[in-house]
């Protein structure tokens, strides 16, 4: 079942690239069906594990996949986001675009399901390709595609080097999800930084974030919703399942650096977000800020903060996907993303305004929606861990979040109607279906986060408590 989760989207996606039947609706239909099937399989695959031996020398490695623990929730998030993104697709050359979305889904399934470091690294590189091709084919500026690819591939290479060193030292890379695998020795700090560099670039964290605003602004809405919701979580996921599990001593040792970087991202992202005029860049910088908070949570070595991080990973995925989808709708209607050119759309498009409102409120942390739950748990955990200053800085950033999210919402929806903006119809039913699952999930998770919380940290509790007592 877990193999099918990866193979189905990839195979269908590649087939769609080759079979040249130009029918936008049919392409979307096939894509949505595949994404739906993947979602159903993902739900059914909970706890499933499968393994096929790949290498026995120079270290053991297997195509080992498992939908357990934290992976399961991120995989569900990925399946939902891809489904929504495909329904929301509204770009020229729909067939190729949907195909790339499916390949991206399959590749990221591989990243989050992999139970083997080498397989993880393999899919890590693979998941860059669809985004690169979409940026080349649909983006406005070619340099953006380069920047995305070079930055992330550089990360992928240090990941590869770290994996090779890990394999040479430990003799096996089939370790993700196992407990009691600790790497120590002269090489271990290098291995740690090899992994950490890749994860920091992918998340991204200041000062490695410069590829991110450009990429998020240039990629069409549906794809960027998946990238921001799920792909950016690959780094955080890596910190939790690799650095925290196998290199806890070094994560502990270098935690101050990560906390400082996280805090800078948190504030820098929030202030930068306040001044952006491109609506997608507003959300891009807000992402930098929110993910900085999660980095702090992971580096704080507190079980509660870690649980909060897991909730917030899912919550951020949901609301950033929704934000980017809705901003994509706005862009396709008004043909501009400039905040100063937009205004007063809400009166004529109440459903569009409502969708943006829910997403923005979730992003600024309104109680009752998922974002709040994650933030508050992280803050309590970070405070418990004795990190008072980061917690205070996080509070500042959360206040700023209200400012930039309301600025975004009001700039687009409220105010006097701008005369020369084209007046277009409200959300179509298809677009409505595309954002409804995300909104629903935000509310459900906001009211009852126990499903995600109740579970999860068990595998890492050992290492985290060990870290605390040391």
């Amino acid at each position: 079942m877990v193999f099918a989760l990866i193979l189905l989207p990839v195979v269908v996606g590649l087939a769609m690239l080759v079979v040249r039947v130009e029918n936008a609706q049919a392409s979307k239909g096939v894509g949505a069906l595949v994404a739906l099937a993947t979602f159903v399989m993902a739900v059914a695959a909970r706890g499933d594990e499968q393994s096929v031996r790949w290498l026995s020398r120079p270290f053991e490695s297997s195509f080992h996949f498992g939908a357990t623990s934290i992976s399961f929730w991120i995989v569900l998030l990925l399946a939902v986001c891809t489904f929504c993104a495909i329904l929301a697709t509204n770009v020229p050359r729909t067939r190729q675009f949907v195909a790339q979305l499916l390949v991206l889904e399959g590749a990221m399934m591989g990243v989050f399901l992999a139970r083997d470091l080498l397989v993880f690294a393999l899919f890590w590189d693979l998941m860059l390709l669809p985004v690169f091709f979409v940026l080349l084919g649909w983006g406005a500026h070619a340099p953006t595609a380069w920047r995305y690819f070079i930055y992330n591939f550089a990360g992928g290479l240090t990941l590869l080097l770290a994996t090779a060193a890990f394999g040479a030292l430990y003799g096996s890379t089939d370790v993700i999800g196992r407990t009691g695998v600790h790497v120590v020795g002269a090489w271990a700090p290098w291995i740690f930084w090899g992994f950490a560099f890749a994860f920091l670039v992918k998340t991204p964290v200041w000062p490695l974030h410069t590829w991110m605003p450009l990429t998020y602004a240039d990629t069409p809405g549906p794809m960027v919703s998946v990238v921001s919701a799920v792909q950016s979580k690959a780094g955080l996921y890596g910190f939790i399942v690799i650095c925290m599990a196998f290199l806890p001593d070094y994560l502990k040792e270098y935690a101050p650096i990560l906390i400082v970087l996280g805090a800078i991202s948190l504030l820098y992202g929030a202030f930068a977000s306040l001044t952006q005029t491109d609506v997608k860049r507003v959300v891009a910088y807000s992402s930098l800020s929110h993910l900085g908070l999660i980095v702090i949570a992971i580096a704080s070595f507190n079980p509660l903060a870690l649980q909060g991080a897991l909730v917030y990973i899912v919550a951020h995925g949901l609301f950033s996907a929704m934000l980017f989808l809705v901003l994509g709708f706005v862009e396709s209607r008004e043909e501009t993303r400039t905040l100063t050119r937009l205004g007063g759309i809400g009166a004529a498009n109440p459903k569009l305004a409502g969708a943006l409102c829910i997403a923005a409120l979730a992003a600024l942390g309104l109680p009752g929606l998922a974002g709040f739950v994650g933030e508050i748990i992280i803050l309590i955990g970070v405070f418990q861990a004795g990190l008072v200053w980061p917690a205070i800085l996080a509070l500042v950033a959360i206040v700023l979040a209200s400012a930039y999210m309301l600025r975004l919402y009001q700039g687009i929806m409220n105010g006097p109607e701008v005369a020369d903006l084209p007046v277009r119809s409200d959300l179509s039913w298809m677009e409505g279906i595309a954002v409804a699952p995300l909104a629903l999930a935000l509310v459900v998770l906001g009211v009852d986060p126990h499903a995600v919380m109740a579970f999860d940290t068990s595998a890492y509790n050992a290492t985290t408590s060990q870290g605390v007592t040391r």
């Binding site: 690239l17 080759v18 040249r20 790949w54 290498l55 020398r57 120079p58 270290f59 080498l118 690294a121 393999l122 899919f123 590189d125 693979l126 390709l129 690169f132 091709f133 080349l136 084919g137 070619a142 595609a145 380069w146 690819f149 070079i150 591939f153 550089a154 290479l157 240090t158 590869l160 080097l161 994996t163 090779a164 060193a165 394999g167 040479a168």
Partner: protein, 476 residues
């Protein structure tokens, strides 16, 4: 050591004899066959000879036999390299079939086959004489092949190759003479004598030998000839040089590194080679950035890829040798695949190697563009290709053999190379359609089939990473 030549000795050189005889058969058939089918007869017979030789060679995989008093050593090592050489030769032959212009090519095919038999001799060479014999047999054929084209650049390339390659041979043979002077024997096995360490002749001889080999492998700083010659030569010959020549020379170098260096001084004696490999990885990959021709791009890429292969050999571990061979095989099929796709884009007037012609290819010929993208990404080492797995295997051995710095250089080189490869990919998928629609003949089934076959092999090698286990001992 006087020893009579036995039947077994002759059996052990049967594969290369088959190739050499096939060349004669091709020449004969070329005379007799009618003009209309002549081309296919020549290529078909040549391919048949290569395949039969490949099957025959495979039988010797589990043997370990020193024929002709140690001059030619048959075993897993020689067989694996011979198979790679044969695969490369077959790919070049198919390129001739895919992009020729209807002239008689019997002579060309015969030269290619004779060259190949020289390369096969190098794969099993157990003493310095055989190495030189094989190398010259390989090179003499190539000098002619380089010039066998109507384009003036081909003649320039042939002359350049002749002069520089002869100079390299000079270095090589001078080094061999000094080694012989030091050890009193031409056998590689006698070079392991620890007494040699004190002989200055030995050090000078080894140095000159390495210079000669580095010339042939076009390693930095002896690489300047490669881009020009690759660009000027006809495409099948370029493919041949980039695969077969390198494979055969690496066979010689690997055997020398593993079996003919006194173990006490191996680390010092071989250090310059690793340094050269590191420089090659950087210079080769940087050199790729400015190229406008696929053949030049592949010349520079080849410089770097040989650096990767040498990285695997650093440290002299048996596993390192296996991964070097694995990567060499992967490199062979990636390169051949890229050339097969380029052949699809060729026509009578022009070879499909100018990168300007690749602009907008993704829209015009999506499958060809996808295949080319695949091969370029494989060279860059992206998954799911053998290039990815090969790199991680090489990284692991270099780390565990204590040459982590080479691994780091490999990573840096790969990052640079990606930019160069991705530039071509970007040109293929860029939306602007300014590129003149220079389109090729509609279908060349042979090139299609072989490009797809290369693609399948490169993927299959990732998931079934067979590396030859029976490659040691190399010398008796």
């Amino acid at each position: 050591m006087t020893q009579s030549v036995t039947a077994n000795d002759w059996y052990s050189v049967a594969p290369l004899s088959i190739v050499a005889v096939a060349a004669l058969v091709v020449l004969l058939a070329d005379l007799l066959a009618p003009k209309s089918v002549n081309r296919y007869v020549a290529i078909g017979l040549g391919a048949a000879g290569l395949i039969v030789a490949g099957i025959d060679a495979a039988y010797a995989f589990h043997s370990n036999y020193a024929a002709f008093g140690g001059a030619f050593i048959v075993g897993g090592f020689s067989v694996v390299f011979q198979e790679i050489v044969l695969a490369g030769a077959l790919g070049s032959l198919i390129l001739y079939g895919a992009m020729g212009d209807g002239k008689r090519i019997g002579g060309t095919v015969a030269l290619l086959l004779w060259s190949t038999s020289g390369a096969m001799l190098m794969a099993g060479a157990g003493n310095l004489m055989t190495i030189f014999l094989g190398l010259e047999l390989l090179s003499l054929g190539l000098y002619c092949l380089c010039g066998l084209s109507d384009r003036p650049t081909a003649r320039e390339a042939a002359l350049k190759y002749l002069i520089l390659s002869s100079m390299a041979s000079g270095f090589l043979v001078y080094g061999m003479a000094l080694l012989f002077g030091a050890s009193g024997s031409v056998a590689l096995a006698d070079l392991t004598n620890p007494m040699l360490v004190s002989s200055p002749l030995y050090w000078c001889g080894s140095g000159l030998f390495f210079v000669g080999i580095a010339f042939k492998l076009s390693l930095v700083p002896f690489h300047a000839w490669a881009p020009d010659v690759y660009e000027g030569a006809p495409m099948p010959v370029t493919a041949y040089m980039s695969v077969v020549t390198k494979a055969a020379t690496i066979a010689v170098l690997a055997r020398f590194i593993y079996a003919a260096v006194p173990s006490t001084i191996a680390a010092q004696l071989l250090l310059p080679i690793w340094v050269i490999a590191a420089i090659s990885m950087i210079v080769g990959n940087v050199g790729m950035l400015a190229q406008h021709d696929l053949k030049r791009l592949i010349a520079y890429s080849g410089i770097a890829q040989v650096g990767y292969i040498l990285t695997a050999l650093a440290g002299g571990t048996p596993l390192g040798m296996r991964y070097a061979i694995y990567y060499l095989a992967a490199y062979t099929f990636m390169n051949l695949g890229a050339f097969e796709v380029a052949a699809l884009l060729s026509d009578e007037r022009e070879e499909g190697s100018r990168l300007a012609n690749y602009r907008g290819l993704g829209a015009r010929r999506p499958v060809a563009a996808a295949l080319m993208t695949f091969f370029l990404l494989a060279m860059a080492g992206l998954p799911p290709t053998a290039g990815f797995l090969g790199k991680i295997l090489i990284l692991t051995t270099s780390v565990s053999a204590g040459y982590a710095w080479l691994g780091v250089v490999l990573i840096v080189g790969t990052a640079i190379s990606l930019y160069a490869y991705a530039k071509v990919i970007r040109a293929m998928y860029a939306r602007d359609e300014h590129g003149h629609a220079h389109d090729a003949r509609p279908a060349v089934p042979l090139a299609w089939i072989s490009a797809v076959a290369c693609c399948v092999i490169v993927i299959a090698m990732t998931f079934y990473p067979l590396t030859p286990s029976n490659i040691l001992p190399l010398v008796r």
